[in-house]
């Protein structure tokens, strides 16, 4: 038969094909590949730890600039661990491990099931551990001794007659090979479980266009239906904030630069959220009382969850993850700072935006956050011996933002009650221009009724022209008299400067007064003295007003007034606060009168159907590794051959690939046992 060229090439191709697939298998199951892959996965994992993952895209854009932002985005570096290339290497590792196990499996099986009783004398002599006896016993006895020695040392044996010789094959520690299989199968099992719980299915749904990530912050009812995922479709990890007394049947899955809405097969009602505290005020536990309404259940489930104590229902696990305000209702009094002393009642909830009509002005008030407790280390606790430290609670406070007509915002933080600062009590009103900055606090001193009223009246009085005039007259008079200059014209001139300075003070604080003085005394010969005098006048004027008000408040005449140290202290603080108010940048000051606290609990809800697989894999892995490391597979053979002279030749040899040093001892013990029963009648030879 003549072979055509075509058929030859077809055959050759077939052979090459077969060889190719064999090469592929060889390659996939090779140790070099395994080691390289282990190292590559390790290095790839580094990227995801160096670059914070799954941040809002805008953050990356700011950090890297438009060019690199785009490059990194294409490489999927913002979510490395679900990037296609990362999953590909991981998949490769799993494939390689799988191929490796399946290729080694038959050999391993042979290793554990076969006793290799077909060994030859030469191969036993080639083992580094072997021993030979010339025993004056019959074959049966020698065999019994060898069997006894091996079984006594815990070996399982098989006996086989081969030609003249009786061969006893013994082995121990077979489970080490099982360890290899368990370890490597476990890697594959864990990976499969991981895939089930990973976001690969979601990615596929997205690629098929079944779901679309929503990027805008919409109320739930307006989220389009293609961004919803039906209950019990796959694994997810989502979160939701639920205010006390409210309920939710969905969670939000944060994905790249947007989110999806995952429906739950039940409703969660949050009855209460609590923070438990250590005696020193630090939080010790966060707890939520939940009620689960499931249509499949006759009775709702009631359970309290806390950090480290989640609730699992229908394959969904509900965790205490975070907390926040749930819309605390607040009654606030706004006091205008324009000298009218007008009060504006405000009432609203946290997260509400309110419009304030303040005479000619308009402001938007955004109620941002509320804190029930403000616990700080007490800085006055000087004796901090060892572990003892002290804490103080400064009571409730709230955050808000005020926006002017142009949308320009300032951020405020105000305490409800006075706070103790270095032995004095103040109402603290924090302000910052930028959210990244720390707050700068306006310290308003409290009066004898622990309120801000007296300060507010004082501040208001500074806007009263007549009152300021009269006070500045008195101040000028007093000062000039003290200096021994009695000149009515000078008095009214000085009084006018005092008036002017107070207006600067109200509008720009002491800084503005300084600047104004500086420009006025510029060039004058006695500038420092003039400046000092002007400051004295301003201070005296303010003090005159204060004295008058204080006398009024106490129901005595100014002359009969006793000014004590605390009064002076109040005055000092009030002057600083008046200056502070000028920089405060708000047309009104808010005072919280009353609140109804309402918190929200932050729940994380997960569903991971692959969890059982992963845990099983982990258990296999641990068992496998310990077997692999701490059991060693060893074999011993005894070859018993009768000699023509009536003696019996006994050759024993053994091997332990893993721990040869350890095996040396065991083999010595075996031969000692043999010696005892064959020894007196045998002649030993090591070779």
């Amino acid at each position: 038969m003549v072979q055509t060229a075509a058929s030859i090439t077809a055959k050759a191709r077939g052979r090459r094909k077969k060889r190719l697939s064999a090469i592929w298998l060889q390659f996939l199951g090779s140790m070099n590949l395994a080691i390289s892959l282990l190292v590559v996965v390790a290095i790839a994992s580094v990227i995801g730890t160096v670059l914070p993952q799954n941040q809002p895209y805008i953050d990356y854009l700011v950090q890297f600039g438009p060019f690199w932002f785009e490059v990194f985005r294409l490489l999927n570096l913002y979510d490395v661990y679900s990037a296609a290339w990362f999953l590909f290497i991981l998949g490769f590792l799993i494939l390689s491990t799988g191929v490796c196990v399946s290729r080694h499996m038959p050999a391993m099986w042979r290793e554990v099931t076969r006793y290799r009783t077909h060994v030859r004398e030469q191969s036993l002599l080639a083992l580094s551990q072997h021993q030979r006896w010339q025993a004056e016993a019959d074959t049966d006895t020698a065999a019994a001794v060898a069997t006894g020695a091996l079984q006594g040392h815990g070996y399982r044996i098989r006996t086989e007659q081969r030609g003249d010789s009786l061969i006893i094959g013994g082995m121990q520690g077979r489970s080490m090979r099982l360890g290899y299989i368990l370890t490597h199968v476990a890697v594959v099992v864990i990976a499969i479980g991981g895939l089930v719980d990973g976001n690969l299915p979601l990615k596929l749904m997205e690629m098929r266009g079944d779901v679309r990530i929503e990027r805008e912050n919409l109320p739930l009812s307006r989220v389009p239906s293609e961004s919803w995922i039906a209950p019990e479709t796959g694994a997810f990890q989502g979160s939701v904030n639920i205010p006390e007394g409210s309920n939710s049947g969905v969670v939000f899955l944060q994905l790249r630069d947007g989110y999806l809405v995952q429906e739950l097969p039940f409703e969660i009602v949050v009855e209460q959220f609590r923070i438990e505290h250590y005696p020193n005020g630090m939080p010790s536990s966060y707890e939520s009382d939940l009620v689960i309404h499931d249509p499949d259940l006759a009775e709702p489930i009631r359970q309290t969850i806390s950090v480290n104590h989640p609730l699992t229902h229908r394959g969904h696990t509900i965790y205490q993850a975070s907390f926040g305000d749930g819309g605390t209702r607040m009654e606030i009094t706004g006091r205008l700072l324009d000298g009218t002393g007008a009060e504006v009642p405000i009432s609203g909830r946290i997260f509400e935006d309110l419009n304030l009509e303040l005479g000619a002005m308009e402001r938007t008030l955004e109620l941002d956050d509320f804190q029930l407790l403000n616990i700080q280390r007490d800085t006055r606790a000087v004796t901090r011996t060892g572990a003892r430290s002290e804490f103080v609670n400064s009571g409730p406070s709230f955050n808000y933002t005020l926006r002017d007509e142009a949308g320009q915002a300032r951020y405020y933080h105000t305490y409800m009650a006075p706070v103790r600062v270095e032995d004095q009590w103040y109402y603290l009103h924090g302000m910052r221009m930028d959210e990244g900055e720390p707050f700068r606090y306006l310290h308003i001193p409290i009066d004898d009724r622990s309120s801000m009223n007296f300060f507010m009246e004082f501040h208001q009085a500074l806007h009263d022209r007549n009152r300021v005039d009269a006070a500045s007259q008195r101040a000028a008079d007093t000062l000039l008299t003290q200096m021994g200059v009695a000149n009515p014209q000078l008095v009214s001139q000085v009084a006018r400067t005092a008036d002017e300075m107070i207006r600067y003070l109200l509008n720009g604080g002491f800084g503005a007064v300084e600047a104004h003085l500086e420009s006025r005394v510029q060039g004058a010969a006695n500038a420092p003295m003039l400046r000092e005098f002007s400051q004295a006048v301003l201070q005296r004027t303010l003090f005159e007003i204060y004295l008058e008000m204080l006398a009024d408040r106490r129901g005595v005449t100014p002359a009969a007034l006793q000014v004590e140290d605390p009064d002076r202290r109040f005055f000092e603080d009030a002057m600083n606060a008046v200056s502070g108010v000028a920089e405060y940048g708000a047309p009104l000051i808010l005072q919280l009168d009353h609140f109804e606290y309402r918190q929200a609990t932050g729940l994380m809800i997960t569903r991971s159907p692959g969890k059982g697989i992963v845990y099983t894999g982990s258990a296999l892995l641990i068992i496998g590794i310990f077997l692999l490391f701490y059991v060693s597979h060893r074999r011993v053979w005894a070859m018993i051959t009768p000699k023509p002279d009536g003696t019996t030749d006994v050759l024993m040899g053994g091997v332990n690939q893993r721990r040869p040093e350890q095996f040396e001892e065991e083999f010595a013990s075996l031969t000692r046992s043999m010696d005892q029963h064959l020894g007196s009648v045998s002649q030993k030879s090591k070779d």
Binding site: M31, A34, I35, L38, V39, V41, A42, S45, V46, G48, T49, V50, Q53, Y81, T141, A144, T147, G148, A149, Q151, G152, G154, G194, Q237, Y278, P279, N280, P283, S284, S285, Y286, S306, V307, N308, P310, T317, Y319, A321, S322, F323, T385, G386, A387, R388, S389, M604, I605, T606, S608, K611, V614, Y615, S618, L621, I622, I625, F629, S673, Q676, H677
Partner: protein, 388 residues
């Protein structure tokens, strides 16, 4: 021969594990059973189900440790007795200052300071042994290492009691912050080393291992004096879990083993440059010893690290809602794990030995150190507990 086959087999039966235990071992077991029972009875009301289980496992582990490693019986007994004595003198925290014994020896601060002095002293002693070849100096090194490891463990145990005395009894096992785990690292590494020293009957490895322990003591002291890290602080709720009690110590067996392997890698590279007939050769461990101990340390470390990572996953599942979230700490645990898996494959299945493996073990320690320290310092994530 009139001996029956069965008779021979019976005669040659090796004593089983249980039969090989001496009366000392059984006495030890009895002491452990009683101690565990007393602990359970005294603290019954204060413990939850898991803590009872953990206590029982601890008792069993100590029993087994005593059997497996005879020297550890003395160590465990001494540590327990001294700790109990220290605790008995603690009606309240202030006693740490007032009581003479506590102030100079038994309070956690003092004990940890003793540890911080003893380990560097042991390093010097081993170093002297290395330089002069004086066997006595190395013996002193061993004694100092045992004492240092004892002081460290006493420090932690007493601190555990102190946390319960702290305002309102915040009580937690002291393996919850960097300061405490550094103590744990130093003493764990020392103990694992002492075990191998006993097995190989050589003190030539001591200097190298003690170097890394002293380095960690140096960090500990800086942390103590510069940052006041020794202060007992209440636990953040996420750490308040029984998983922590087993996850962290398990992890540190791993870290300790990897540290030992890396230092032996250094010793290997040095020994490989020394001629066999030089006097230094006798004062350094043999290449075979290093090779064997490195392998055993990495195998032990890898096994424990695997268990620790799985425990961490179980804990994460309970605390954060996902057994694996690719948090930086988790990712770095995986990196460390993969790195040593690669090492084991190279060494075991490719049969690669020598300098490459020594270098790999040294680099492995840098990777491990980053996972242990670097992640906390440079990367943010769930492990920084910024959330709650």
């Amino acid at each position: 021969m009139a001996v029956s086959r069965d008779q021979i087999i019976r005669d040659m039966r090796q004593p089983s594990y249980w039969q090989r235990l001496s009366w000392k071992d059984w006495l030890w077991a009895a002491v452990m059973v009683v101690a565990t029972a007393v602990t359970l009875i005294v603290l019954w009301d204060a413990m939850n189900y898991y803590e009872v289980v953990i206590t029982a496992i601890t008792g069993a582990t100590m029993m087994w440790m005593g059997w497996y490693w005879a020297a550890s019986k003395i160590y465990m007994s001494a540590v327990c007795l001294i700790s109990l004595f220290a605790i008995s003198r603690y009606p309240e925290l202030a006693a740490a200052e007032a009581d003479f014994f506590l102030r100079y020896i038994g309070s956690s601060q003092s004990a940890i300071m003793w540890m911080s002095a003893l380990f560097p002293a042991a390093t010097l002693a081993y170093g002297a042994g290395l330089l002069t070849g004086n066997a006595f100096a190395s013996k002193v090194g061993t004694a100092l290492t045992w004492t240092g490891a004892g002081a460290g463990l006493i420090g932690l145990l007493v601190r555990w009691h102190e946390t319960h005395l702290y305002e309102g009894g915040i009580g937690y096992i002291p393996v919850s912050n960097l300061y405490e785990v550094f103590v744990l690292f130093a003493l764990m590494t020392a103990l694992i080393y002492l075990y191998y020293e006993g097995v190989h009957r050589t003190r030539t490895m001591g200097f190298w291992v003690l170097l890394i322990i002293s380095a960690s003591v140096g960090f500990l002291l800086w942390y103590h004096f510069d940052r006041g890290a020794y202060q007992i602080e209440p636990l953040v709720p996420a750490l308040n879990s029984y998983w922590m009690k087993i996850h962290v110590p398990t992890n540190f067996v791993g870290y300790g083993c990897f540290a030992i392997a890396a230092m032996l890698g250094v010793a290997y590279l040095i020994r490989a440059r020394v001629a066999d007939d030089s006097p230094w050769a006798a004062r350094l461990p043999t290449l075979k010893q290093i090779d064997d101990v490195s392998y055993r340390a990495i195998a032990l470390g890898f096994a424990f690290f695997t268990v620790a990572t799985v425990l961490g996953a179980l804990w994460a599942a309970e605390a954060w809602g996902a057994y694996w979230s690719w948090d930086p700490k988790e990712s770095w645990a995986l990196i460390v794990w993969l790195n040593y898996a690669a090492w084991l494959h190279l060494r075991f299945t490719k049969g690669l030995r020598g300098k490459v493996m020594a270098w790999w073990a040294i680099i492995g320690l840098f990777v491990t150190t980053f996972a242990f320290l670097g992640v906390n310092m440079f990367l943010s994530g769930l492990h920084s507990y910024g959330e709650l």
